[in-house]
């Protein structure tokens, strides 16, 4: 995805040829609409994921998730798949589970939002590796930063940027155009969920 190209595709829909004659919007507005759309498409349809490995020292109880994680798909400790658990589940099993002695982890407990850190249970008595399979939230896109993502995401982002721009109140508002662009984007997002949402 090349954000600068995408924004240039949006200009004619706003009856502009460049940033200079945009009228009711600034270029920053358009990038903000674009970023919102890409973030939502990645969260809803699973456009972006990462597999990475983190070395963990013996005795570590809490480990931060990879930056920009939006959802956990699977986590492995030294190649063994860990069971996902909630705090409520662990508390119901044992009130002092957090003080259990170190051993080989067989489960992880997520924080309240599930996107910041995990607690390993039992905590590792020896050093090892965590392999993360996580869905990612894209970094903020600017005119200079691209994103390695298939082109259907471009199409959704372009249509939603048009929809958002045309929803803006005032003399530049075109509710019918906004509705039509959003309806097309919604159909594409539903298809993307079908194609890319099956891994979880």
């Amino acid at each position: 995805m090349n954000p600068a190209t995408l924004i240039s595709y949006v200009y004619p829909n706003l009856h502009a040829t460049s940033q200079a004659n945009l009228g009711g919007w600034t270029e920053a507005d358009l990038y903000s609409y674009l970023n919102r759309s890409v973030r939502q498409a990645c969260a809803d349809a699973g456009f972006l994921a990462e597999c990475s490995v983190t070395a963990v020292a013996a005795g570590t109880q809490v480990v931060a998730l990879p930056a920009n994680t939006s959802a956990i798909i699977q986590i492995q400790w030294n190649d063994k798949t860990l069971n996902p658990r909630t705090t409520a589940y662990m508390d119901a099993r044992s009130s002092d589970w957090q003080s259990a002695p170190g051993d080989v982890p067989d489960a992880y407990v997520v924080d309240q939002q599930g996107t910041d850190f995990i607690r390993l249970h039992p905590y590792p008595a020896e050093a090892g590796n965590l392999r993360w399979w996580v869905r990612k939230r894209p970094s903020n896109l600017t005119s200079l930063s691209g994103l390695a993502i298939p082109s259907p995401a471009d199409l959704i982002a372009e249509l939603e940027t048009i929809a958002e721009a045309r929803r803006k109140g005032g003399i530049f508002e075109m509710p019918e155009a906004a509705k039509a662009a959003q309806a097309m984007a919604d159909v594409l997002k539903a298809a993307a969920r079908l194609y890319y949402g099956g891994a979880v």
Partner: protein
């Protein structure tokens, strides 16, 4: 139908002159509308099929592949050494062997983790078995209308005209798009049915999302 013919057809549909010098709407706007209509068509129907080879790293279970196949939409079939890999979720793969990343061998399963990431299980044990053939639904390049079946080119023109009327001209021009849009979505539905049968026969792993009869009705209502 070649691209210029479709462009001329779209110009007529939106009451524009067929020669570029007399148009109010710029040629680049027509081109973008046609490319959008073509891309939406290909994405929903998965009508354009391509093949390639993906090279995994031995002992590694995942591959970020977008740089290798940037026109990727969805996987249709993966095979290694002529043997098909079965599509599974990561949970299914872990249910078969909860240490699946730890025992490299000949790959048997694959998972599309997201639109940019593939996993194969077991991870390939050598350079030889790390070469995986992929058949995938692809996005035609901008302007490559010949990659869409020619009987659907009229529908692409209808979709493009509707996009121009609804998204660019708007106002009193919007309602005139309904008939064109209807024709475009119906063509997507017909092509989806065809590709669905083709994919079933070929035992492909991904079926086109398309638009269902009910979905189409709801969509047209929403756009009107």
């Amino acid at each position: 139908m070649i691209f210029a013919e479709v462009l001329s057809l779209v110009a007529k549909k939106v009451d524009e002159d067929t020669t570029a010098t007399h148009r109010y709407i710029a040629d680049s706007t027509f081109t973008r509308a046609i490319n959008r209509a073509q891309a939406i068509f290909a994405f929903l129907t998965l009508c354009y099929e391509k093949s390639s080879v993906l090279t995994f790293t031995p002992n590694e279970p995942s591959l970020e592949f977008i740089a290798d196949i940037p026109d990727f939409i969805a996987p249709l079939k993966l095979s290694q050494g002529g043997r098909m890999l079965n599509q599974q979720s990561l949970q299914q793969i872990a249910a078969r062997n909860n240490q699946w990343t730890g025992f490299p061998d000949m790959p048997k399963y694959y998972c599309l983790v997201a639109s940019n990431l593939l996993a194969i299980a077991p991870p390939p044990s050598s350079v030889t078995v790390a070469q995986v053939a992929i058949v995938y639904a692809a996005m035609p390049l901008d302007g490559a209308l010949d990659l869409i079946p020619s009987e659907d080119h009229d529908a692409i023109a209808q979709g493009s005209a509707a996009i121009i009327r609804q998204l660019i001209l708007g106002g009193q021009f919007g309602p005139g798009a309904e008939e064109d849009l209807d024709g475009y979505w119906m063509a997507i539905k017909r092509r989806t049915d065809y590709v669905m049968n083709r994919n079933k026969t070929a035992r492909y792993d991904t079926m086109p999302a398309g638009v269902t009869k009910e979905g189409l009705k709801a969509l047209l209502e929403k756009i009107k």
